[in-house]
Every structure is written in C-alpha cells, then in structure tokens.
Amino acid sequence: MSEPTSDEDWAAGLRLYARDVPAVPVDVAGAVRRGRRRRVVRSAALGTGSLAVVVGVVVVAGPSLLGGLGPVSGGSADSAASVADGAAVAGSSGRVWSVEDLAADVAAAATAPPPAEDRPLYAEDGSTPDRLTVEQHGAPDPSPYRAAIDAATGSVPAAALESSAHASPGAWPTATAACLQGAGWEVVVTDDGWTAQVPPTSAVRFLADVDTCTPAA
C-alpha cells in the first residue's frame, strides 16, 4: 500500500493535468485600439468631469456618487423632479445624476484595480446608498452606455448584435423594460421610457444590460 502523497506533491501532479489547455485567441492590436479609446474616455471624464457631449437620455436620481464630480444640468433637474413625483424614488436624496455623471464616476473608479465593476459607488458621506433610480426618456441612444461600459471594463460589448428588443418605433419602452426585467432588474414603463431601481454596486452591469436591451437604431 503506497503512502499518501503530500499536498505539494499532489499539486505538482495537478499541474500536469493543466498542461494542455486550449489556445485562447488574443487580439493585441484590438487591445491597443480599445486602450487608446479608453484613455480618451477616461481623460474626458477626469479632465472635465462631464461627458455631456455624448449623452443625455438617461438620468440617475439618487445620492451623489464619488463626490466632487460635475454639477447637475438643468435638464437633469427637470427629469429628477418627474422622478421624485413617482413611486419608484424611495431612498433618493433628491439630487439628480445624469448618465454622464455616472459614466464619469465609473471611469474614475476604473483608474486603479480592482476593476470598476467590482467597486461600489459611494455617497459623499462614504455610505453606500441602497439603490439608485435610473430614468430614461425619449429615443434610446446606446453611445452613453457604451462609453461608460468601455471606461469601466475596457471592452465595448457587442450587445446591439444580441439585442432581444428589436422593437418598432413607439414600442421600445415596453420591449426594453421587458428585456431588463428578464435580466432581473426592477423596471417600470413610463409614458416615454422607463425607470429602474439599481444597486450602486451594479452600475456597470446595469449599463451593460441597458445596452443589451436597447434596440439598434
């Protein structure tokens, strides 16, 4: 009867099991391209505190995140007021954050490991709010989501190609909301869009799912 092998010896044998793993395709040139874009997005977010040029259809109402970033626009305040009138605003401090602010927060959080998708977003007082209220009005534009996702993960998803919400004009809020609900989010359809409740630790994932659920133009 042979003696049991030590853990270290057994682990050495285990390495042989992992000797022939399949080749994983790597796109070095693509990484360079996306890295360049990510630098640009991050520079914009950190340099100006705003990505307002490329966004404007999503409004986040909730406690301020990673304090010190750019002020809220008047248009966002209007949207916040409409959100504050709704039933889905529990926990909101009344301050309004547009998606460009969220993208800037995510980009700022992405400046150092761990990845931003692991990093919760904090309120100014250091606490983590229970949830954010995210609201979208009008025709969807995936570019802000993609900019935020790219800033956080360095990888623009091919979500539009996989979208399950190829809705006709006028029907997209319902289709998008249903898609988001299917992904596990609390979403309510409004007259011209939807509202959603999002944990602050899931901002990146939510943006990715919004992108997935947004019909291609």
Binding site: R15, V24, G35, E117
Partner: protein, 205 residues
C-alpha cells in the same frame, strides 16, 4: 533579476533579451523568462509585451473560467487595462498587472451574465494529437473540479498551484493577506483532492 535596457530608437522594435539561466524565480510555466528592453513608445512596448504574454495570460484565463470565449474576453479586458495604465504597469511587472486585473475580475458574475456553464463538457475544446485523448480527459476533470470551488478558492488554487505563484505573489495579485492565501489554498486543494482522488496517467506522483 536582470533588467536590460537597450539604446534603440522609438520606431525600433523592442529587443527581447533571454533571461539569465540562473534567474529562475519560479516554475517553468512562469512567463518572464525573457526581458523586454523598452523603447519608450507605449504602443510598441505594449505590443511587444502583449505578444509575449498572451499565451500565459490565455492559459491563466482559461483556468479561471473554463471557457475559451470567456477567457478571450477576460484576457482582452486585462490587456486593455494594462495598456491604459501602461506607465504604471511597465514600471513594475506588466504581467503581474495584467494577471491582477484578471484575478480580480468578477468571474462568477461574469459567467452568469454570459449565461454560460463553466464546465459544460461540450464546450471544452478538444485538441488533436497522440496524447490528446488523455490530455483532454485530464483537463476536463480538472476544470470540472475547479468549478466546484468558490470563485475565491478557484482564483487562489489557479494562481498558486497552476500558474505557480508564491503565496506572497498570489496574495499581492488578489489583494489579500498571505495567511488568507494559505488557508484558501489548503481548503481548495483538499477539496480538489477529494474530487479528483489520486491523479492518473501523467498526474501520478
């Protein structure tokens, strides 16, 4: 460790300098068996690094995820982040930086989002060759066993035992204490042993 700097122009390709034979800091699977003389140009230097590191990063990513597509995405994310932080990454160890990004990725959440099963047997690619059958069988057994570990135990086991990092290096990559690595590695390994038993074929020791 010997760092070799070559006096080359910005447009010149980086020079890969074989490491000194005595400069062996770890198992043979470790990536830094050659040093790259940086040119100072971000794209050139990063491309040289990534080209050299891609196989090892891909292997680590596959062991972490058990899926080629997921691993490719994980490596790509790590490389993009490493490019973005290149001055900082290059000042230290770019490979460690890239590996750190991969190790800290939310591989559990990420798998769920992709609606993939880590170890679905049909998704494990097969290779050809004389010993391919046994190798694939061993590989499948391993990845199934790894899937039974918690994400953190899997990270520790992969980095510590399959990539071959020291406890300290594993702790640094994961941002935890060496004691945590020791505990998680021990538990993870025992669980693997319970699952796999005595290793067969090339795994016998």
């Amino acid at each position: 460790m010997t760092v070799v700097m070559a006096d080359v122009g910005e447009d010149s390709p980086p020079v890969v300098v074989p490491a000194d034979a005595s400069d062996d800091a770890g198992p043979a699977t470790r990536p830094a068996d050659a040093r790259i003389a940086w040119t100072g140009d971000r794209d050139t230097d990063f491309t040289a690094f990534a080209t050299r590191a891609q196989a090892e990063l891909g292997r680590t990513a596959w062991l972490l995820t058990g899926d080629v597509h997921a691993a490719a995405e994980l490596v790509q994310t790590a490389l993009v982040r490493t490019y973005t932080a290149w001055p900082r990454a290059r000042a230290g160890d770019p490979m460690a930086y890239a590996r750190r990004v991969m190790a800290n990725a939310r591989i559990d959440t990420w798998r769920r989002r992709r609606r993939e099963v880590l170890v679905a047997p049909d998704e494990v690619p097969h290779t050809a060759g004389a010993d391919a059958g046994a190798a694939v069988e061993h590989r499948d057994e391993l990845v199934r066993a790894l899937a039974q570990l918690s994400p953190q135990q899997r990270r520790v086991v992969v980095l510590r035992y399959l990539v071959g990092l020291s406890e300290r290096e594993t702790a640094d990559d994961l941002g935890v204490s060496a004691g945590t690595v020791k505990t998680q590695a021990s538990r993870g390994l025992h669980r693997l042993r319970a699952t796999l038993g005595e290793l067969r074929g090339g795994g016998d020791v």
